[in-house]
Symmetry: C2
Subunit: 280 residues, 2 copies
């Protein structure tokens, strides 16, 4: 069973995982490490980590589960740096929201037997330990993927995420990343684009109603965390953006021609999808 968990990166994702683990009836010993000044101390003061390690490698060395909750490029770097440091029986996992780049690195490093990647779809537009909370993963879908089929560490990985309230499901890294371009990256850039359009007109968040607030909340997301994701996703995201742009142009045409029945049909179909998961 899991008894010593190393959480590398104590921001929103890692901090929330550490908090949740320490709330379990039989909590594991949690080692934490974060290179952002002061963040580790915050996490220790909050009771989210038992032992704070200045060097991530020191947290890794004695853990039976190692979780990377660092930005994508940092995780890719650390995996290589820590290659000799893992216990041979340790589960190595990560929470990156794209699994393809991590899987590729894992395979290149010969770590496939120890790695089960995870993407918990809890999140927020805030970042940092200050934004973390023990219930971030409650009810959240957690996508799991591995570089080999029927991974022997699969059950341990599932149990880890279930223990903090997540709902694990297995996926293929490529299929997962394609889906993320649609369900995560596209909405993110739409929120940015809408916010930019409103800002250009001199409108403020305070001018918005509840719907407009929902539609611009993601504009607060961290550019630093998003850039590597957008870069890795660019080949899928660019066509998706163009397709959406085309449908906005079509809508504009329909409005110009006052073809209200087309708008009615369009809204009714999307409403059916939203309310009943049906696309009429």
């Amino acid at each position: 069973m899991t008894s010593r968990v190393a959480v590398i990166g104590l921001g929103l994702m890692g901090g929330s995982l550490a908090r949740a683990l320490k709330r379990l009836d039989e909590p594991p010993f949690v080692l934490g490490s974060d290179l952002t000044a002061g963040r580790g101390d915050l996490a220790r003061a909050a009771g989210a980590v038992d032992e704070l390690c200045e060097r991530p490698l020191d947290a890794v060395a004695t853990a039976d589960v190692v979780v990377y909750a660092t930005p994508l490029p940092v995780t890719l770097d650390l995996l290589g740096q820590h290659l000799e440091g893992f216990r041979p029986d340790a589960l190595v996992t990560d929470v990156a929201s794209l699994k393809g780049p991590i899987k590729e690195r894992i395979v290149a490093l010969g770590l496939s037997a120890q790695w089960v990647g995870a993407h918990p779809m809890g999140g927020a537009e805030q970042s940092g330990f200050e934004a973390s909370r023990a219930d971030l993963y409650a009810g959240a879908r957690v996508w799991l993927t591995a570089a080999v089929g029927d991974h022997p560490m699969g059950p341990r990985s599932e149990a880890l995420w279930r223990s903090v309230g997540g709902v694990p499901a297995w996926t293929d890294a490529d299929a997962h990343d394609a889906r993320m371009a649609s369900v995560s990256h596209l909405p993110q850039l739409l929120a940015n684009a809408l916010a930019a359009a409103l800002a250009e007109e001199g409108l403020l968040r305070g001018d918005l109603g509840p719907g407009g607030l929902d539609m611009t909340r993601l504009a607060g997301s961290s550019p630093d965390l998003w850039l590597p994701l957008l870069e890795a996703s660019a080949h899928r995201l660019a066509p998706a953006l163009r397709e959406l742009a085309g449908s906005l142009d079509d809508l504009a045409d329909v409005l110009d021609s006052h073809d209200l029945s087309a708008v009615q049909t369009f809204m009714a179909r999307t409403r059916a999808w939203k309310e009943h998961d049906e696309w009429g």
Copy 2:
């Protein structure tokens, strides 16, 4: 002072207003009317109305405040039908989210001296009395407008909305409607367009994380309520949609050319707007 309020239309907006009024320390007598079968009975059973009138005109006749919370075209019709029915000292108001078409009708009917229009920016993608709640307007901006400057019934109108937690502010009907095209209608159609794109790919709401859920919530809005608004707003909305489509195409180009610093700048500016109401 306000002692008898007629609420015409007991859906989300009217139902919430009636509920809130009946929770006041000194609640007015609330007359309600709604042509949707069963809705009035729901409102009476919930204690939101004291007297239910089958014909809207009967609710209007004895009221010192008449609130139209019906869809835009219905409000336009009823104003004409009720013209002879208002008490001469009654404040006539409405909650339509576009003020220009209502103002035009009011002027044509010679009702300017009795009308102060309102647009409370509380709302939800749900509709109907079932979705109403007493705190819908708590903290909500309520735009007020009139067909004459410094309207003598302005203070009564402000007091009405303040009593249910709203934050009144005065605006010009045209300027208001132009702003709504940006802050309300554009986000609405964006949510529909994103939902349609996801649906076309076979993705369900359950596939989304918190951000994607926020960005598609409005797709559940009622087409019937929205069509008249979109039609009245079409001349402003179509250009806004095309401009947004253009910025999505630009983003796609930037991603294709892997010009990540441009994306970084773009996201940082929208984040500054979101977090600090600043457009860098």
